[in-house]
């Protein structure tokens, strides 16, 4: 996936001279090699290392976006986006609105979020719910190399600020990529990863892969789970979600973010408001416990929801289904 991310940036830098890239250590590839070779290819004016000043760097990117450029800002770990929140939330997200449409902020913020490698509480958080809650920001999360390429190119081309969420546990995964303009994916559309009859599993980022693993286990028990990879967290593709849930009549949302206050709650509320009549069971949620991400590998393994947690949630939903509602059709 990390190659797909690099290719997407490369292809947009090549296609559009207004695209620039800022970040800490991006000229040497950063901690995971995502930006390797880009300064060699596009020069020292367009691809630049920055000091450890997330606030000023984000603000500079917003100002550049407001005046004709298309900046990509890499924030090394999502946890450090907190240092850039004033500029991202108060300016990037709001300048179009406050200006009555005079300004456009075509900014892309790449962050890598999620726990792996026992990096601990400041290098492991999943904070996508914060960004999805800010009017004016778009938020996408890729779970496959194909989507990493397609959604990142779409994010860079988007006229609005997009937070592009990566997961380091997925960086080394391999898969097919449709290179070129034809491979650009639309923001705002979920992807069906596995069709199923009995329950809709809704997930994103690494949890989309976890949900597929859970679906395999469930199939052995005779439960066919449909897996939707949301891909776009803001805007949410509620249409695709509702079409699926209306058919399966059960839903479980699974995210790596802490369950309380996570986007799962938003999805539960939205689904039941529109499709309550079709549901035969309460909607389930799977998320991390209400704690900071622990450092010890054993604790981290207990913290991050795995396939077993999703399987348990689905069994619970199946067992809790109301027969009379099922029979009524």
């Amino acid at each position: 996936m990390v190659d797909a991310i690099r290719a997407a940036m490369h292809d947009e830098l090549a296609a559009d001279p207004s695209v620039v890239l800022f970040g800490e250590d991006v000229t040497v590839g950063g901690p995971f090699g995502a930006t390797n070779g880009l300064q060699d290819a596009f020069g020292t004016e367009r691809v630049r290392d920055t000091p450890i000043s997330e606030g000023a760097v984000m603000g500079m990117a917003v100002g550049a976006a407001a005046t004709g450029l298309r900046p990509i800002v890499e924030i090394m770990f999502m946890d450090f986006a907190t240092l850039a929140l004033d500029q991202l939330v108060n300016h990037a997200a709001k300048l179009r609105y406050m200006s009555g449409g005079q300004l456009s902020i075509p900014l892309t913020v790449r962050v890598q979020a999620g726990a792996s490698g026992a990096f601990g509480a400041h290098h492991s958080q999943s904070l996508e719910a914060w960004f999805a809650h800010v009017p004016g920001l778009k938020v996408v999360a890729a779970s496959t190399p194909r989507d990493a390429y397609g959604l990142l190119r779409a994010a860079i081309r988007d006229p609005d600020p997009v937070v592009f969420i990566e997961h380091r546990a997925l960086y080394w995964g391999k898969g097919p990529v449709a290179v070129g303009e034809a491979g650009i994916a639309p923001i705002g559309r979920a992807a069906l990863r596995r069709p199923g009859r009995d329950v809709t599993l809704i997930a994103w980022s690494r949890m989309a892969a976890t949900a597929l693993a859970a679906a395999e286990q469930l199939a052995a028990e005779g439960i066919e789970a449909e897996v939707l990879d949301l891909r776009s967290l803001q805007p949410l593709d509620l249409e695709t979600v509702l079409a699926s849930v209306r058919r399966t009549r059960r839903a479980v949302i699974a995210h790596e973010a802490v369950m309380t206050g996570g986007l799962g709650g938003e999805l539960v509320a939205s689904i039941q408001a529109a499709a309550f009549d079709r549901l035969v069971a309460p909607i389930g949620r799977v998320g991390a416990p209400f704690a900071p991400v622990p450092a010890s590998p054993a604790l981290e393994a207990a913290f991050v929801p795995g396939p077993a947690a999703i399987v348990d949630a689905v069994r619970y939903t199946m067992a809790g289904s109301i027969a009379s509602r099922e029979e009524a059709g």
């Binding site: 603000g59 550049a64 450029l69 900046p71 108060n90 179009r96 009555g100 009017p135 778009k138 006229p159």
Partner: protein, 327 residues
């Protein structure tokens, strides 16, 4: 680089009249906003810059196409000095659909993009990194433009201020940092918040050329600005101008200002930048006797007409409530 940038040194008679009239427009505009606020015709948090016209006009009068200006919560004057239309500006402050921001930005978040006044902000020091982006963009696109960030002495306490000085110096960005040091951050004297009372010293820490000037002397401000603009255009990086001035009104409209010494206020009134410029222009023979009087009358008459027109405009309506959130 365009040939149309105005000359920096001594003013011609025409330029003298233009800057004096522009300062009077700023003064009359702010006085009109104050009056409308007192009459309940304008709502929200209003921060006026009466007494600080020399910094806005001293710098704004030297800028041209390709240059950008980035302001803060007290930026009506900065926008006007960059060329914003007073009627669209007042309409925005008065919550009208015909305002620059369709009534959605208001007094602290003014945007007059076509003039080069890109935005103001309600976050102290928040505009400073934005200005770096404007400078970077101008340089990459080869326009020769400079980016001006206006902020007050309070901004010097913010992390974003220091990060921006460091980054602008490191990347040699064509930014002009303009600190309007009026000695007060909200209700406290500057000394209550920092042991460093000359913000120009912070610029020196990062190796940025810096100067402290009498912010109420338009010609002194203009001279410092000319040098800064020239430095930025030739690729030699940022400049920090600390303009020592005074705020003749409270922090915001409605602030009784009990925290200020009346003798201090009276002393600064003597230094009114418009009066000083008018006396100087008269003494130098660039204008006739009492030029402040006629120019003030014209500006007030203009603003009276503008206000009448704005008050007749419809308020922003619910149809615009959720437009412009995204493209």
């Amino acid at each position: 680089m365009p040939e149309t940038y105005p000359a920096a040194d001594a003013l011609s008679a025409e330029q003298a009249l233009a800057v004096l009239e522009r300062m009077q427009l700023l003064r009359a505009f702010e006085e009109k906003v104050s009056e409308l606020y007192a009459r309940g015709k304008v709502a929200g948090l209003i921060h006026l810059a009466i007494g600080q016209e020399a910094t806005a006009v001293g710098i704004g009068s030297l800028l041209g196409p390709g240059d950008t200006v980035w302001g803060g919560h007290r930026s009506h004057g900065h926008a006007l000095a960059t060329g914003a239309d007073p009627e669209r500006l007042l309409a925005e402050i008065a919550g009208r659909a015909a305002g620059y921001g369709k009534g959605k930005g208001g007094s602290m978040h003014l945007v007059a993009a076509e003039t080069g006044f890109v935005t103001a902000t309600g976050v102290v020091a928040g505009n400073i990194p934005l200005a770096l982006g404007g400078a970077f963009s101008a340089r990459l696109r080869g326009t020769g433009g400079v980016a001006v960030a206006f902020f007050g002495d309070g901004a010097g306490q913010s992390g974003q201020f220091h990060e921006s000085l460091n980054l602008a110096a490191l990347w040699r960005l064509p930014v002009i940092f303009v600190c309007e040091n009026n000695g007060y951050a909200e209700f406290s004297p500057l000394s209550a918040h920092t042991p460093v009372e000359r913000l120009a010293n912070h610029a020196a820490t990062y190796g940025i050329p810096n100067v402290s000037v009498d912010g109420n002397d338009l010609l002194a401000v203009r001279s410092a600005a000319a040098e800064a603009i020239e430095r930025g255009r030739r690729g030699d990086g940022p400049t920090f101008i600390e303009a020592l001035t005074y705020r003749l009104r409270g922090h915001y409209e409605g602030d009784p200002g009990a925290y200020r010494d009346q003798a201090e206020l009276a002393a600064w009134r003597e230094k009114d930048p418009i009066e000083r410029l008018a006396r100087r222009l008269e003494a130098d023979g660039l204008m006739g006797p009492d030029p402040a009087v006629a120019t003030a009358e014209r500006a007030r008459a203009r603003m009276a007409a503008v206000a009448e027109a704005v008050l007749a405009l419809p308020a922003a309506g619910p149809a615009d409530l959720t437009t412009d959130v995204v493209a």
